[in-house]
C-alpha cells in the first residue's frame, strides 16, 4: 500500500492545494505592510503540512488568504491559490462562501472567543450543516450530535444546549473541530489550534486532529509556532520568515538537517530534556518591520552564517528558493551552487 502521507508523491499527482507566489499587502496610512510577500508551497492529499514561524511572520494571514477572508485594508495583490486546480483568488464571494466550511474549513487559536456567545453551540454546529447540506431538521440534529460524539464530547445531546461560556477551552475547541469536520472537508486549516489551551488538553486536541485525519483521509494545514507540535504532528513543513517561505522539507529531514540559518536557529532554540544549558539559544535581533523590508535577504541582519561565510550578496539581493536536495528547498545564498533554482 502506498503511504500517501509522506509527501514524496510523484509529480504527476495534483496537489490538493498549491500556493504560488502569494502576496497579501495591507495598505495603511503609514505605508504598505507586506504581510505576505512571496509565499509558495504545496499541500498533497492526505498529508499534514506544517507551517511554522515566529509571531507576525504571516502564517495566519496565509490561512486567511487561502479562505479569502483578508479584512480591509488588506488585499491579495498577486499570486495564485490553486485548490483542486482552481484558483481561489479568482472566485466570487458567493462561490467562496459555498466552499468555506464545506470543502475547506478552519479552526482557530482562541476556541472560546471563536464561538458566538449568544447562540447555543448546538445551533452553531447545525448552522454549518444547514448552509451546506440539505437535511431535515431531525437529521440535522442527529448529525450534529454524532459530530460532537466523534470529537469526544461526553453527553453530546445535553451539550448541544450549552452556551460557549458554559464550556472549557478544550471542550470549545472540540466543538470548533466538530464544526470544521461537519461537512467532511477536503482540507482542514488548523491555525494554532492548541496555543490557548493547557498542555494536557493540547495533547488531546492534537491526537484528535490526527485521528480524524487518519479516519477520514483528510488533509491538514497545521499552522503553529511550536516546533514540538511540528515534530510530533506533521509530515512536511514550510518554514516562514517575515512574510516569505524560507525552507521546505519533510519533517524528518528538516529536523535532522536544517539548511536555512533561520531554521537552524529555530531548532537550536528548542530546549532539550536532560541537557543542562546556561542559557537557551536564541536568534539575535527581531523580525524586520514589514513596512520597510531590508532590500536583500530578510534574515540577513540576524544571520550568523552570513558573517561566518562572509557573504555580501545577502544584503543586496533577495535569494530565490534553491532545491538543495530533492524536495528540500531553502531560500539562502549559501546554497547558490549546491542546487537548482526552484
Amino acid at each position: 500500500m502506498v503511504d500517501k502521507r509522506n509527501g514524496n508523491s510523484p509529480l504527476s499527482e495534483q496537489p490538493l492545494l498549491e500556493v504560488r507566489d502569494l502576496r497579501t499587502y495591507f495598505f495603511t496610512r503609514r505605508g504598505t505592510v507586506k504581510a505576505i510577500d512571496g509565499v509558495s508551497f504545496r499541500v498533497n492529499c492526505g498529508e499534514i503540512r506544517g507551517v511554522v514561524g515566529e509571531s507576525g511572520c504571516g502564517k495566519s494571514m496565509t490561512a486567511m488568504s487561502i479562505l479569502q477572508l483578508v479584512d480591509k485594508p488588506g488585499k491579495i495583490v498577486s499570486g495564485e491559490i490553486l485548490f483542486k486546480g482552481e484558483d481561489l483568488v479568482k472566485k466570487s464571494r458567493r462561490e467562496m462562501s459555498r466552499l468555506r466550511g464545506k470543502q475547506i474549513s478552519v479552526i482557530f487559536q482562541e476556541p472560546r472567543s471563536s464561538l458566538n456567545p449568544v447562540f447555543k453551540v448546538g445551533n452553531q454546529l447545525r448552522e454549518v450543516l444547514h448552509i451546506h447540506e440539505e437535511l431535515k431538521r431531525e437529521q440535522e440534529q442527529k448529525k450534529a450530535v454524532s459530530q460532537l460524539r466523534e470529537v469526544g464530547i461526553p453527553d453530546p445531546e445535553r451539550r448541544m444546549d450549552n452556551y460557549p461560556h458554559e464550556m472549557s477551552g478544550g471542550m470549545a475547541q472540540r466543538v470548533m473541530i466538530a464544526m470544521g469536520m461537519a461537512c467532511a472537508p477536503d482540507l482542514l486549516i488548523a491555525d494554532e489550534p492548541t496555543t490557548a489551551l493547557d498542555v494536557t488538553i493540547q495533547a488531546q486536541v492534537l491526537d484528535l486532529i490526527r485521528s480524524l485525519r487518519d479516519d477520514h483521509n483528510m488533509t491538514v494545514l497545521l499552522i503553529t509556532h511550536d516546533m514540538g507540535v511540528v515534530a510530533e504532528m506533521t509530515d512536511n513543513v514550510t518554514v516562514m520568515y517575515a512574510g516569505t517561505t524560507v525552507e521546505e522539507a519533510s519533517t524528518e529531514v528538516l529536523f535532522a538537517e536544517p539548511l536555512h540559518p533561520y531554521t537552524q536557529g529555530l531548532i537550536a532554540s528548542i530546549p532539550v530534556m536532560g541537557e543542562v544549558k546556561e542559557r537557551l539559544d536564541v536568534i539575535p535581533g527581531t523580525v524586520p518591520n514589514l513596512i520597510d523590508m531590508p532590500p536583500g535577504c530578510r534574515f540577513a541582519p540576524r544571520c550568523r552564517a552570513r558573517i561566518e561565510f562572509g557573504l555580501e550578496k545577502c544584503m543586496v539581493e533577495e535569494p530565490p528558493m534553491f532545491e538543495v536536495k530533492p524536495n528540500h528547498f531553502a531560500r539562502c545564498w549559501l546554497y547558490e551552487g549546491g542546487g537548482d533554482e526552484a
Binding site: D71, R94, S97, G101, S105, N116, V118, E127, I131, Y163
Partner: protein, 357 residues
C-alpha cells in the same frame, strides 16, 4: 430566565421605597412655609394653624411619612392647589399624551436609527457611511424646538393644500372625537380616576384601534407624525451612531470570523451573528432615551400644542404646585424603574451570559 426576572422584580421594591422617600423629602426640604406659599404672605396664625391641621403638617415628620405612604399606596396623590383637582385625575389626562408621543418618537428613532447604523457599518468608510454619519451628526446637534418649528412650518404652512400637509399642532382635528373604548365595550369606568381603562382611552391611537375607528386613528396618527419626528431625531441619531460603532467593533471579533469561515453569507454574518451581540449597548441607549423623553418633552409639547407631562411639570414648578410636582416626579420615577427592568430583561434575553449573574 424566570428566576432572573423574579430577582430583578424583588430588587425593584427597595428602589421604589427609596423613590417614595426622596419625593417625600423633596417636598419637605423646599424652602418656605407651605402655608404661606399656598395661602399668601398675609395669612394669619390662626388660618395657618387650621391649614396645617387640615393638611396634617402639624404631625411629626415620621408620622407624616406614614400617612404619605398610606395615601400613595392607596392611590391618593393629593390635590393640586392650582387646578383644585386630584393629581391622579391630572395624570390620567396628561400622562397618556406623553406616553403616546414618546412611543411614536422612539418608534421613529429605532426604525430609522438602527437601519442607518447597520448600513453605515456594512459599507464602512464608503460614501454611504459618510453621508449617514453626517446626517446623524446634524440630527444630534439640532435643537428640538428649532427642528419642531421648522417641521411645523414646512409641513403645516409651506405644504398647505398639498397631500404632504400635516397638522402642526394638537392631538385631533376639530370635529373628530373617538369614543372611549370602555364606553363602546359597555364597561362602566370613572373617567377621572386613575384607572388603566381611563389611561388607555386617553391614548388616542390605541383607543381608536380598540374601537376600530379608522378615521379617528388616521387623524390621531397624522397629528403624531411631526412631534414624533421632532422628538425622535436626537435619539435616532444617537442610536444610529451607537449601532454603527457597536457593530463595527463586533465585526472584528473572532466569532464573526468563524461565521465567515463556516460559509455564512456576509449579509447573514452581519444581521444574525454580529447584530445580536451589537444590540446590547443600543438597548441601553434606547432605555435611557425613553426615560428622558418621558420627562423631558417640554419643548416638543410646547411647540406642538400638546398638554402632556412636560407642560404640566413646567407649569407646576413655576406655580409652586407642590403636590403635582411630587406626584408626577413619583410616577416618572416609577416608569423609569419599569423601563430599566424591561432593559435588564432584554439584556438577559439577548445575552445568555447575563442570566447567570
Amino acid at each position: 430566565m424566570a428566576g432572573y426576572l423574579a430577582r430583578r422584580l424583588t430588587l425593584a421594591v427597595p428602589v421604589l421605597l427609596g423613590i417614595l422617600f426622596v419625593t417625600f423629602a423633596l417636598a419637605r426640604l423646599l424652602p418656605g412655609d407651605p402655608c404661606r406659599s399656598a395661602l399668601g404672605e398675609r395669612a394669619t396664625e390662626q388660618i395657618c394653624e387650621a391649614f396645617n391641621e387640615r393638611y396634617g403638617l402639624n404631625e411629626s415628620i415620621p408620622e407624616q411619612f406614614r400617612i404619605y405612604l398610606r395615601d400613595v399606596l392607596s392611590g391618593d396623590l393629593g390635590e393640586s392647589i392650582k387646578f383644585g383637582r386630584p393629581v391622579t385625575e391630572l395624570m390620567v389626562e396628561r400622562l397618556p399624551v406623553t406616553v403616546e408621543l414618546t412611543f411614536f418618537a422612539m418608534l421613529f428613532a429605532v426604525l430609522i436609527g438602527i437601519p442607518m447604523g447597520l448600513v453605515s457599518a456594512y459599507y464602512h468608510n464608503s460614501s454611504v457611511d459618510v453621508l449617514t454619519m453626517i446626517t446623524a451628526n446634524i440630527g444630534v446637534s439640532m435643537p428640538v424646538f428649532w427642528l419642531g418649528l421648522m417641521l411645523s412650518y414646512l409641513f403645516g404652512v409651506a405644504f398647505r393644500d398639498t397631500v404632504l400637509w400635516l397638522p402642526p399642532s394638537g392631538r385631533l382635528s376639530a370635529g373628530i372625537s373617538i369614543e372611549p373604548f370602555y364606553a363602546a365595550w359597555g364597561m362602566s369606568v370613572n373617567p377621572d380616576a386613575l384607572t388603566l381603562p381611563g389611561f388607555i382611552a386617553n391614548i388616542n391611537t390605541l383607543n381608536a384601534l380598540l374601537v376600530q375607528d379608522w378615521n379617528g386613528l388616521g387623524d390621531a396618527l397624522r397629528h403624531m407624525i411631526l412631534p414624533a419626528m421632532a422628538l425622535g431625531t436626537i435619539p435616532m441619531s444617537i442610536i444610529a451612531r451607537m449601532t454603527r460603532s457597536s457593530l463595527l467593533e463586533v465585526l472584528g471579533l473572532n466569532y464573526v470570523r468563524t461565521a465567515r469561515a463556516k460559509g455564512v453569507r456576509e449579509t447573514k454574518v452581519v444581521l444574525k451573528h454580529a447584530f445580536r451581540n451589537a444590540l446590547l449597548p443600543v438597548v441601553t441607549i434606547i432605555g435611557l432615551s425613553l426615560g428622558s423623553l418621558l420627562s423631558g418633552a417640554v419643548l416638543t409639547e410646547t411647540v406642538f400644542g400638546l398638554s402632556g407631562v412636560g407642560r404640566i411639570l413646567y407649569d407646576s414648578i413655576t406655580g409652586r404646585d407642590y403636590t403635582v410636582v411630587q406626584g408626577f416626579t413619583l410616577i416618572i420615577a416609577v416608569i423609569f424603574v419599569f423601563i430599566n427592568l424591561v432593559v435588564d430583561t432584554l439584556y438577559a434575553y439577548l445575552d445568555p451570559r447575563i442570566r447567570l449573574e
